[in-house]
Symmetry: C2
Subunit: 335 residues, 2 copies
DNA sequence: TTGTATGCGTTATCAG
DNA sequence: CTGATAACGCATACAA
């Protein structure tokens, strides 16, 4: 910018004013303006954001701390975040919260994130208390996405999916088909998933299907995590006729395990997932699931992140939508 | 830092020296050092990276431009990149190169990336010539991952998978099982994928299986992209007995389409993919595919990105590994 | 309408 | 051994 000022024969401050479209209060002669603009263009001038932020300007950086980027669901969420952020001129820098990371790493992630204008948490990070503590003592706004809508407040704005509504839709679909022995498979973690389990229990009680938790199994959220659990369930004297999987990944795992163990889907066992990841449409058979309102959740999150900080600590919730595909059917006739 | 200098009653430059472990040439009295360190600790001092980089220090930021974050394969690659980068103290900022983005957006991505110490390209970006041009006129090192190992040089270091070796392994496996009518389904894009198609053609010629490209179909790299192509192929007078899919995503699409159209896998049709995404182990049936040496490729990429710039423009290549699962079997008997 | 001067947080240089 | 000062690139209050 100094160079361009010299070339144009004006002061550097003038250049700054012109290039930043300074308030109309300060009028610059059109002649000078044009000349400077032309030279800047020709010299390929690039503003240096760091110098700007040194002066107190926002860094236009959004920190994203993701529970697991490998999870296709979060990968999609990140893409959406990146998109929405860019729409506001922001870029996304990745922090990590890998479960395997020691606490020092979590700390580092935050330190590096400190120069962001805001931090977006994706997925339930309550397993990293150290990180959350750090975040609380952080001056930038923090917003938590998919942390679950119930339970004690985290201290920052939260926007989640309406898990109860989703579970109602899924179980309503299954009971509507005639199912009564409906199993639940989900990871044993806090937050969003736990809420789905709670909603499942509540629904059954209210629908007068007293299972007493016999059909609940905790499995890791991986594509090969549900095999053993499914075997156990199908070996019961009264095996379930349907499985509600807390995530599509688990649903995929169940479908695969069912195939391996010769359990016909959906003839013998119906399966419902949660998330509607891209693969859900391409499983064999394709998966009935709940479509996550990703765009709305991310949009709201970005608004909280870069908008004015609200006085209260809002908790937003959006409803998922049931997508009926080929993995659900009426239960087999009692034999 | 000014505060801590005042509190300690020393000059701010002294603090800087101490906190940065300045060269031993300059010795600071242990007493002062300890005192300053203690105060810094207690005041929770955080260095401000932007101010540092203003002075010419590296930003410790790695720009990642990825073709499609939603692609589970790239999601895994990004995670690995993030991991390896952090091992060297770097963070990753996301650029986007969505196919739908207009050129201005691609430009923006680069501009924003300019303050990174290096830029890592993931996947073939040759469809964004504007972006590549920008990158060439960029001062920071650029390294391209998964851009393919053949064809004209991009002008920056490239590290890719050995597509020919992978294709040989896959087709060798299929021909070893007795297949001769092997179809190829892949996206019609340049780079890595095109190389696989070329290697497929070459292999068949050398194996004296003259198909003349009758079994080649170009399909989008999506989970629902292969349906029509598969129908066409199976409707041929001599339908293929095996499909080599250029990516696991396409393979998943083929498996699903086969199921929908009552084509038995692998009894009637064997399928091989490429990448070994996590889902490949959980398809129905599980997918025979080529495991991508992600860690080695990313490690090499990071080395090029943050290491000394080599005088030549290296092109590294790592071999994938065939993983035989349940989607391949001998072809059906000719009826 | 434009130029000068200052400061943001650091580090490097030079003087003390 | 340590303090003062300049410089990095930019924006702005103030002077001309």
């Amino acid at each position: 910018m100094k160079d361009i000022a010299e070339t144009a024969g004006v002061a550097q401050s003038t250049v700054s004013r012109i290039l930043n479209d300074a308030p109309v209060l300060i009028r610059v002669s059109d002649e000078t303006r044009e000349r400077v603009r032309a030279i800047a263009e020709q010299m390929g001038y690039q503003p240096h954001p760091f110098a700007r932020s040194l002066r107190g300007a926002p860094t236009m950086l959004l920190g994203a701390v993701v529970r697991d980027i490998t999870d296709p669901f979060f990968a999609g969420a990140i893409e959406m975040l990146s998109l929405k952020a860019k729409a506001h001129g922001y870029s996304v820098v990745l922090g990590h919260a890998l479960a395997t990371a020691d606490e020092a790493m979590a700390l580092t992630a935050v330190l590096e994130a400190r120069q962001c204008d805001a931090i977006v948490l994706l997925g339930d990070l309550r397993e990293e208390p150290r990180l959350l503590d750090d975040l609380h003592s952080c001056h930038v706004p923090v917003v938590a996405l998919w942390h679950g809508s119930e339970g004690p407040s985290l201290g920052f704005p939260t926007v989640s999916v309406d898990n109860r509504s989703g579970v109602r839709a899924a179980l309503g679909h299954l009971t509507g088909l005639g199912h009564r022995r409906i199993a639940f498979l989900g990871p044993d973690v806090l937050g969003d998933i736990r809420e789905r389990e709670g909603a499942y229990r509540d629904y059954l009680v209210r629908a007068r299907i007293p299972l007493g938790g016999r059909y609940i199994r905790h499995v890791p959220n991986t594509v090969d995590g549900a095999g053993d659990a499914l075997c156990e369930l199908m070996a019961l004297p009264e095996p379930p006729t349907a499985v509600f999987a807390a995530t599509d990944i688990i649903a995929v795992s169940v479908i695969h395990a069912a195939f391996v163990h010769d359990v016909a889907v959906p003839a013998q066992l119906s399966i419902v997932g949660f998330d509607d990841i891209p693969f859900a449409a391409a499983t064999v058979p394709s998966l009935t699931t709940l479509k996550m309102p990703v765009e709305r959740i991310v949009t709201a999150g970005v608004r909280f992140a870069i908008g004015r900080v609200p006085d209260s600590i809002p908790r937003l919730v959006y409803k998922p939508k049931l997508i009926v595909r080929a993995s659900t059917a009426p239960p087999p006739h009692e034999g």
